[in-house]
């Protein structure tokens, strides 16, 4: 009965959306703001990866909100899951097989390196803080599954998170204090396609990379952690 009702409702809504989709032409260049970003992107922000320049400088406030959401989710998660209990030594966990242990011990640094590369070159090549952070987090996930007994130190992960977020805000406030607007790109833009170009964008993306990495690792750590 309930399946039928929801089916009918969804069909009506689908009909409405299909009708409204008719007015939106597909695949032809209909963009207004996007054109401006593509044409002026490089000389205004100095980053060759236009998506990164949009994410960080043009719509930087969104990304600030974005980080806050991740931070809220992490804090909310740990609040709901209750007190953080270290895993007792005596707990019996069957040790992972030898191949898995050596494999993950070998892969862990490589993954960290790949993650770091991605968020450092965020403004040049596709990828950035979020993707790099996610890779680092999956590196930690691999470490949990592979080599047992290794745990990230909770205090360091908090300090990394807070520093990452604070650098973003401080950069924004510096923009404010020098009389311009919040999140103004005050560092020199440098010439494109070099590592040190695009003003504050790489700095922000590195900070975001660290923050997202430690946060997602913290989330996984809380979830895996056995607590009463």
């Amino acid at each position: 009965m309930r399946k039928l009702i929801s089916l009918i409702l969804l069909v009506i809504i689908a009909g409405g959306i299909v009708l409204s989709l008719k007015e939106i032409p597909f695949g032809i260049s209909k963009i207004k703001i996007g054109d401006y970003y593509i044409k002026k992107g490089i000389e205004e922000t100095g980053a060759t990866n236009i998506v990164t320049s949009v994410v960080v400088s043009y719509r930087g406030f969104d990304t600030l909100g974005e980080i806050t959401i991740l931070f809220t989710a992490a804090i909310g998660l740990s609040a709901v899951l209750g007190t953080y209990r270290k895993r007792k030594a005596g707990e019996k966990v069957e040790p992972p097989s030898f191949i898995v242990k050596t494999g993950c011990r070998f892969l862990f640094p490589i993954l960290l390196l790949v993650g770091a590369y991605i968020f450092i070159h965020g403004h040049l090549t596709p990828g950035g803080g979020f993707q790099g952070g996610a890779i680092i987090a999956s590196a930690f996930l691999l470490m949990y599954l592979g080599c047992e007994g290794k745990r990230i130190n909770e205090n360091t992960s908090i300090v990394v998170e807070v520093l990452g977020a604070l650098t973003f805000i401080v950069l924004g406030i510096i923009g404010l204090t020098i009389g311009k607007d919040f999140l103004f790109n005050f560092l020199p833009k440098g010439e494109p396609n070099t590592l040190l170009s695009a003003g504050i964008i790489p700095v922000i993306y590195i900070a975001i990379g660290f923050k997202v990495g430690s946060e997602l690792a913290g989330i996984i750590d809380h979830l895996i952690e056995k607590n009463q």
Binding site: R2, L9, I13
Partner: protein
């Protein structure tokens, strides 16, 4: 001496008594009495002066205006006097009870808001003080716990319904004429469509009818009056009911103007006639229900509804006599109903809480002053000559007969007959008859109770003998309304269809009184007989079995009680129950299952899309 000082004193005083109560109980009592007296005295100075002032402009571009003329002076002064008497009365009554500061604050707040209503010059301030009065009365009615809570809830719901209807009336008047001030508003309704006038009239009449306990809207009054503390029920039925009367007079004679009111609904059936008929019903049914009551305060509560019926009957005809009769009966009823409640309160105070008429009796020897007060109050209620009730009843009958509505006159007569019955029952069961054992060592009512009883009884007699005093004030009110005043003199009314002259009546009664007194004094032989010294066919008279005031009107009770079950009350109760069940049913929408909640969201969206696709409403 502008009017806002009165309000400032009244409301400020109410708060002051609360905090002074924290310091010392004595200081608070004195302060409370002082404030009520000061208000009465200041109001006395405003006799036949008329002044107007804007006392507050902060409220949403509505200037709130206070005004006083003889019409509002007359009501305000009665309320202030009755209020101060009941505060004096409650000095000793309340001392034994719990949180007394709360009681005095609320009492002063009620009096202050009533005076605020009377003095207000525009409908918005009228409404504001009206609401303050309702919620402060609510807090005071449910003062002594137990059944008073149900009474309080019933009162507040009905009065909120009324005031909400009135609010719609006020705002729709404002939206039509752009003003809420009486002076600008009066007469504007002349050229309005009769449908609109009836709409406004009905809205206001609901609110004022509830307050005035007119028959179909009276349901809250019996429980409220009998459960409220006695001094407050004296104020409640003495003056609070009269706010409804004030509102109706204001509505008919000031806002809607008499000529519009007279030919209102001329085609079908004139509004005047409908109001008169409701007045008559309000007299008949409550009177005979009052007969059946065993609780003294409930009996008085039903009699208040009946007397309010008389007032409405009086006002309905719109001629100068009818206005005079209505106003005068308001004034008298305020006095003797307050007196009767105080008498019952004194008895209740002494027998700590006993109001059941079946178990009282023979208190005449123990509390003679209260008895005399009760006797005079009842004579006023019935309308025995030489009391003020007589004059106003006479005026009411005169207006009924002159305006050729004999049936209503007969109904009023039947009502008076019923009044005689239940007032005698009240007096007899409480004071006459056999004194039960446990009240042997009952001492008299304390002085602070006897003082108001004595003063009010004197007032009844005084205005009974010299009706000219209040009538002079009523005349100036009538000329304010544009009616030609009655021809009166200090002793009575002279008009072509009948005159009263209290002087010769008083002289006759006085002389007969002296003669009887002489005869009684002359013959020595009379000797006091003890209560139990009488013949009972050889056996000794049983100490407490022989008491015939139990089930006083038994046969009449059994005859008419099936017809007089208060079906209006059951109607309201079933209405409340159906709303409660509706609420219980609707609550089931929130089933607790998230699947349903998500379906509700999608349903809302699908509904909107479907309507737009199908009918292109938007």
């Amino acid at each position: 001496m502008n009017l806002s000082i009165i309000l400032a004193i009244a409301f400020g005083g109410a708060l002051l008594t609360y905090f002074s109560g924290k310091i010392s109980k004595k200081a608070r009592d004195v302060l409370a009495v002082l404030i009520s007296l000061v208000i009465a005295v200041i109001l006395a100075f405003f006799y036949n002066t008329s002044s107007r002032e804007i006392f507050y402009t902060g409220f949403l571009d509505f200037p709130l205006i206070l005004r006083i003329d003889t019409f509002s002076w007359f009501f305000a002064f009665t309320i202030a006097v009755i209020g101060s008497f009941s505060i004096i009365f409650s000095l000793s009554y309340i001392r034994k009870k719990g949180n007394t500061d709360y009681y005095y604050t609320m009492m002063l707040l009620v009096i202050a808001s009533m005076i605020g209503i009377i003095l207000s010059g525009d409908l918005v301030s009228f409404y504001i003080f009206w609401e303050i009065m309702s919620w402060s009365t609510f807090l005071l009615i449910s003062y002594n716990r137990g059944p008073a809570i149900a009474a309080g809830i019933k009162y507040i719901i009905m009065s909120v319904t009324g005031s909400v209807a009135m609010l719609v009336g006020i705002i729709s008047l404002y939206s039509h004429y752009g003003t809420v001030i009486y002076t600008e508003l009066s007469g504007l309704l002349y050229n309005a469509s009769s449908g609109y006038t009836i709409f406004i009239f009905v809205l206001f009449f609901i609110a004022l009818g509830i307050k005035n306990a007119i028959w179909p809207l009276h349901v809250w009054l019996p429980p409220a009056h009998s459960e409220a503390p006695s001094p407050f029920s004296a104020v409640l039925s003495g003056t609070l009911i009269k706010i409804g009367t004030y509102g109706i007079i204001l509505l008919i004679y000031v806002i809607v103007k008499i000529n519009v009111f007279l030919n209102l609904g001329e085609g079908i059936v004139s509004a005047r006639y409908i109001i008169a008929v409701t007045g008559a019903i309000t007299i008949l049914i409550p009177t005979f229900i009052a007969l059946l009551q065993d609780d003294a305060k409930r009996l008085l509560a039903w009699s208040t509804i009946a007397q309010a019926g008389y007032i409405i009957l009086g006002i309905a005809y719109g001629t100068s006599e009818s206005v005079a009769s209505g106003m005068f009966h308001f004034f008298n009823h305020a006095i003797f109903k307050a007196l009767l409640f105080m008498v019952v309160g004194a008895v209740e105070y002494r027998t700590n809480g006993v109001r059941d008429l079946n178990s009282l009796g023979g208190l005449i020897k123990k509390m003679p002053v209260t008895f005399v007060g009760g006797l005079i109050g009842i004579c006023g209620l019935i309308g025995v000559p030489l009391t003020n009730g007589f004059v106003s009843k006479w005026l009411i009958y005169k207006t009924l007969i002159i305006n050729n509505s004999p049936f209503l006159a007969f109904a009023a007569l039947l009502g008076t007959w019923g009044t005689i019955l239940y007032s005698y029952k009240l007096l007899h069961n409480m004071f006459l008859g056999q004194l039960p054992e446990k009240y042997e060592k009952l001492e008299r009512a304390p002085f602070s109770m006897q003082l108001p009883i004595v003063i009010l009884s004197l007032a009844i007699i005084l205005f009974g003998i010299l009706p000219g005093l209040p009538l002079k004030v009523i005349n100036s009110i009538e000329s304010g309304f544009g009616l030609e005043p009655l021809t009166i003199n200090i002793w009575g009314i002279t008009s072509d269809t009948g005159t009263i002259n209290m002087l010769n009546l008083f002289v006759a009664v006085f002389l007969i009184g002296i003669m009887i007194w002489l005869i009684f004094k002359g013959s020595k032989k009379s000797a006091g007989i003890g209560q139990y010294d009488n013949y009972a066919a050889g056996t000794t008279v049983p100490k407490n079995k022989y008491h015939y005031s139990v089930d006083f009107y038994g046969p009449l009770h059994r005859m008419i009680s099936p017809y007089l079950r208060d079906f209006i009350d059951d109607f309201y109760m079933s209405l409340a129950r159906s709303i409660k069940n509706l609420g219980n049913g609707i609550r089931r929408i929130y089933t607790g299952d998230v699947g349903y909640y998500a379906i509700y969201i999608m349903l809302f969206l699908a509904l909107l899309i479907f309507i737009q696709i199908k009918w292109k409403l938007w």
